[in-house]
Amino acid sequence: MNAPVGHYQYDQSDREFLAARIDEFSGQVTRRIDGSLSEDEFKPLRLMNGLYLQLHAYMLRVAIPYGTIDSQQMRMFAHIARRYDRDYGHFTTRQNIQFNWIKLEETPDILRDLAKVDMHAIQTSGNCIRNVTSDEFAGAAADEVVDPRVHAEILRQWSTLHPEFTFLPRKFKIAISGSPNDRVAARFHDIGILARSGADGRPVFRIFVGGGLGRTPIIGQEIFDAVPEERLLATLEAIVRVYNAHGRRDNIYKARIKILVQALGIDAYREAVEAELQQMDLEHYRLTPEMVDAIRARFAVPELSAPDNASQELSARRETNPEFDLWVRSNTHPHRDAGHIIAVVSLKPAGGIPGDATSAQMDRLADLADEYSFGELRITHLQNIVLGHVRQDRLYDLWQALKEVDLASANIGLIGDIVACPGLDYCALANARSIPIAQKLGARFGDATLQAEIGALRINISGCINACGHHHAGHIGLLGVDKRGEEFFQITLGGRAENGASIGTILGPALPEDDTVDAIARLVDCYLGIRQRGETFLDTLDRLGDVPFKEAAYETV
């Protein structure tokens, strides 16, 4: 077996399942076109296969399990963009990719092409357990207890076509991190899982439940602090069973698990889960070390070796090239291996569309993954791309190659690293456009030196209250609202999704688009003027509250 680095190797049964599923959907498409199926009958079927009808065309959302793909899969995305779409794709805040200009009649062909590289669009829509997301630095980060993608794969196999959980009250999102440091927004998921070391050397899992953004943003609460690995599946099964049994189905806005957890209280919810566990056949759900190891064996592990002087070579390059040094400061993360480093490729060029990549960029990223990172790529929930295992002495060459395809913006975690949903330019649910204001802000703060001077500051933009741009979790959040058919933006401050998660608070009345851009600029100027040495934007906000920022933002309004 020649398993790919970073994700599960399909076998014959996986492929037969996918082929049968595509044949089934192909028949449904045929029946929709000939009128045997009405749109009302067809809609839930196409959604189960990731196909939406958006503003201008059909949109296909392809699942990227735990955000990891290999170079062949990235090249297939490039092929789909070229052959079936308009030469680009959009990477989303759920580590998926969306194609915006899809034809219904071509969808079965696209799914067959995806299946050639073991990919599909299942669990990207509908009221099921959605594609499980994970840490973009999985398997590479120095602070990691366990590679969470193995457990994410186990959750994928557990949840796909789960007979009880195909028609939940509402969609259900799970994120898992193998590090105690939350890089997956665990507290903003229906279930968030963080691993830590257990006494016997196997991992144990902290589990948060009832978090979410959207119309009713709520921070998830810890339901269990140390679930043993062998009880992980049973515990999740029980949590979702309680939700399935008691979650509201009478009101779509109150159907998520967060509403149920709030209604019952976390202690009562925990008691209900424990009662469910007591009457379950726990042996049936026991996740043995052998099972975990069998799944782990389907993942190839990168053979990390680097010259002894790899770090020194990198340091020397940084000393002689300030532009490269700036990029390394913002766009890399420590690797568990001393000779390697994690590189984050920004999909946020100044004035560009956050998360979009052309087919040429996708092809080039695939080549660079092959050349520098064992053919593996990760899609982040912040709409960037990670090459997880880059030799330190080769990082400079990688950076130069990225520059050639306009993918070397030095802005990860900075103000130019804007997260934005597709908004009203594409989305049938949106109230306002997210992309144009992201482009204006990106251009305004595009200078890399200025961004470094401003420091850690994340802007998240959503075009409607469904919050696909995670605006509640942005240090500065922007929510598009519709006022009598025109677009306005509400500003929130102080959101964060990591450990110590919090929901941003509304700063004041919503503003028109251009006024919002100016208000953000004044707000940033205000921060630069009042911050103390070493303070980030959030530090200053925590110290002084939002009054000075409110005065700055609205001073001319």
């Binding site: 009808l53 503003l55 219904l104 009203l424 330019d425």
Partner: protein
Amino acid sequence: MKRPVRVGAGEKLVLTANRLLDGRIVWRDHDGHWAARVGAAEKLDADAVSDVLEEAQARAQQDGVVGVYEVAVRDVDPPEPVTVRERIRAHGPTVHPEFSVEAGQ
């Protein structure tokens, strides 16, 4: 139930839908055909729209369209949708001028 579209002074209604096969936006013209450009849309008075809408919805499968509904437009030539959302539907995404309806994509 969908709320009726508010029609202000100097405004009319037109019918729109997505094409079934490719999802592209279309507008119903005077002959009951579906056209790609809003300029071809038949402008209707508010009191006349319900019968035309009902007929268009009944013929949707036959006509190869899905999701027929009415949109308020300014009564100018060509008609211009009143809301940002419908203007974007009529002309294409604002962030890719090369994909605009007018560009022929």
